[in-house]
């Protein structure tokens, strides 16, 4: 039995039966990271000593017969925009290369309370702005299925880490598709919960009305296991959902006979070639499982990119104003005056995509333009939310592709607007605060993974996972490991 071929659920069970020691599990994954990370570039740094000593302590706790947590024996990676007290949180930016988190994110605390062991932090597009992880100022991440291809982004490090089995679970953040798009590109499950289901406290903010933390995993069952731990009300996040945590694990096994799956055919009519064939086959699979397909009108989603690049940039421009070089971050060495501290630290610390979005956000919020852009986009967002609500009167979940196609070659998309189109199927979900999952659906274009997106109404997180779970069992492509990383 190879440790890295087990799911997190299986690892946890083996640990609880005394078949595997936590130290064994952690060491096996640290060895794999040591061996493979130079090729994949998924991890920015690992916490070898700390992880091993936590593993030893957990083994001792188990040996004493004490109760262990729900994630005991499970190694986890965090995207480098979530805080672990005393560790760097770089956000993939030059600006934060010296920033040590002064407190734990709520997700960090919840994971550690359940005896999960954090292996390290993963790469991302700078401040989670991008769809390829190429905007990271610190490292290049490669797609484990073909190293010359992009892993997607912005949580590309977390997606690639799970795909190459450098960890069974990794957390990402999703503002416009940053969990689901890389999950689709890397052939793993990626889950974006209902807005507010997972606390954002300790996640460096990008677009506060859109950001949501969620897990990457190799199976939907693992997603469910982690969501039971992460989906808690948190009083430190004023947008946190006050519902008690949902019962994922005991519910996901229910079959989907009679489930109504909405398909917005008009909106996805641009889908072509092998991607279309794969999506059509996925719909057939859902039908074979007893689901009923219904047409839904979500043509309004064609405006999602336009709405998003007004609202997300507006929110980013205010959120990122705090990085001024005064209180933390890298202060420009050439700064002579206080104005220089602001102007030069930002000039030197931020990459081109971050500057582009801050400036665009500043423009759409500026006097004279706010009504035409920001307020207009807020109103169209209301329309989009209403259209989704109408659609969910006709169906239980909506199925769409995750991305227009499988992964693209690294460096092949240079135009910013063209890169934004990568998220055309995922952004609407963030705008409406809905839960959405990307589940592996097949391989296209010469062995590149391609995902199916299942979206539910707000708070229907369990129904989304249940559909994905049934689909995954029927397709059996979620447990595939890229050839190069099998051993």
């Amino acid at each position: 039995m190879s440790i890295h071929t087990l799911s997190a659920y299986e690892l946890h069970k083996s640990f609880c039966k005394g078949e595997l020691k936590a130290e064994q599990i952690i060491q096996a994954y640290l060895d794999r990271i040591e061996r493979y990370n130079k090729d994949v570039g998924a991890f920015l740094r690992t916490f070898d000593e700390k992880a091993l000593s936590q593993a030893k302590a957990l083994d001792e706790k188990f040996a004493r017969g004490e109760k262990v947590g729900r994630l005991a024996g499970v190694p986890i990676a965090l995207k480098d925009n979530m805080h672990i007290k005393g560790e760097l949180s770089t956000c993939g930016s030059k600006f934060l290369t010296n920033f040590n988190a002064p407190f734990d994110a709520t997700v960090t605390r919840l994971l550690e309370n359940e005896d999960a062991i954090i292996l390290g932090k993963t790469n991302l597009d700078e401040f989670a702005m991008g769809s390829s992880t190429e905007m990271s100022a610190l490292a290049q991440t490669h797609n484990p299925w073909d190293l010359s291809y992009s892993p997607g982004g912005s949580s590309g490090g977390s997606a690639a880490a799970v795909a190459a089995r450098l960890c069974p679970i990794a957390l990402g953040s999703d503002t416009g598709g940053s969990i689901r798009q890389p999950a689709s590109f890397c052939g793993v499950c990626g889950y974006k919960p209902t807005y507010g289901r997972v606390s954002r406290f300790g996640l460096v903010a990008f677009g506060s009305s859109l950001d949501q933390i969620g897990p990457f995993a190799t199976t939907t069952q693992d997603v469910a296991m982690v969501m039971e731990v992460l989906g808690q009300h948190c009083e430190k996040d004023s947008t946190s959902c006050t519902d008690p945590s949902y019962d994922f694990l005991s519910s996901i096994g229910t079959d989907i006979k009679g489930l109504k799956v909405g398909v917005p055919r008009h909106f996805i009519k641009g889908l072509k070639g092998e991607a279309k064939a794969c999506f059509d086959k996925s719909l057939e699979t859902l039908q074979d499982l007893g689901a009923e397909l219904v047409d839904v009108d979500l043509e309004v989603l064609k405006y999602s990119i336009a709405i998003y690049y007004i609202l997300a940039t507006a929110e980013a421009s205010t959120n990122l104003a705090r990085f001024d070089g005064v209180r933390y971050g890298v202060r420009s060495e050439s700064a002579q005056t206080l104005d220089d501290v602001y102007d030069l630290s930002k000039q030197e610390g931020f990459g081109p995509e971050v500057k582009r979005r801050i400036l665009l956000g500043t423009f759409v919020l500026s006097a004279g333009y706010q009504d035409a852009y920001y307020k207009k986009a807020q109103k169209v967002r209301t329309l989009l939310i209403r259209k989704y609500q109408e659609a969910f009167k006709k169906c239980d979940v909506v199925a769409t592709p995750v991305t227009p196609d499988s992964a693209f070659k690294s460096g092949s998309i240079k135009d910013p607007l063209e890169m934004y189109f990568e998220d055309m199927y995922t952004i609407g979900v963030n705008l409406a605060g809905l839960p959405g999952i990307s589940v592996p659906a097949g391989f296209i274009n010469g062995g590149k993974p391609y995902g199916l997106q299942i979206v539910g109404p707000q708070k229907a997180d369990v129904a989304v996972c249940q559909t994905a779970y049934a689909f995954e069992k029927a397709t059996a492509c979620a447990d595939k490991i890229p050839e190069q990383f099998k051993k």
Partner: protein, 118 residues
């Protein structure tokens, strides 16, 4: 150019034909000042063309009838403003905070002089 690439090429043509340039070099200069990011002339030129292209694209929102629709201010249905009691609590200890400060002196963050001394 593959199929998607061609689609994108057509889309850009469409934007160029339809869109009026929104920004000029003066506005870009003003925006860099407002957002306190110094930019070289080359950076400003490339920002001008990128931002105009993006704004050209978002013009399509003008075709949507939003008459009578309220702006979306909260995402989660049923969410209301959350208040808490104004109680003192344990926040960041000063030394933890200052450990990240680029420069500090006597327990305070230090910046270059704001008022010139004669």
């Amino acid at each position: 150019m593959d199929e998607n690439g061609y689609y994108f090429f057509l889309l850009k043509q469409k934007i160029r034909e339809k869109a009026m340039p929104q920004l000029d070099p003066e506005i870009i200069k003003n925006l860099t000042m407002l957002s306190r990011i110094r930019c070289s002339k080359e950076e400003r030129e490339s920002l001008l063309s990128d931002l105009n292209e993006i704004l050209g694209y978002v013009e399509q929102l003008n075709e949507v009838d939003v008459e009578g629709l309220p702006p979306c201010n909260t995402v989660l249905q049923g969410m209301t403003n959350v208040m808490r009691e104004d109680e003192t609590g344990q926040t960041l200890p000063r030394e933890t905070f200052l450990a990240n400060a680029p420069e500090h002196i006597s327990g305070m963050v230090r910046v270059p002089p704001v008022i010139k001394s004669s």
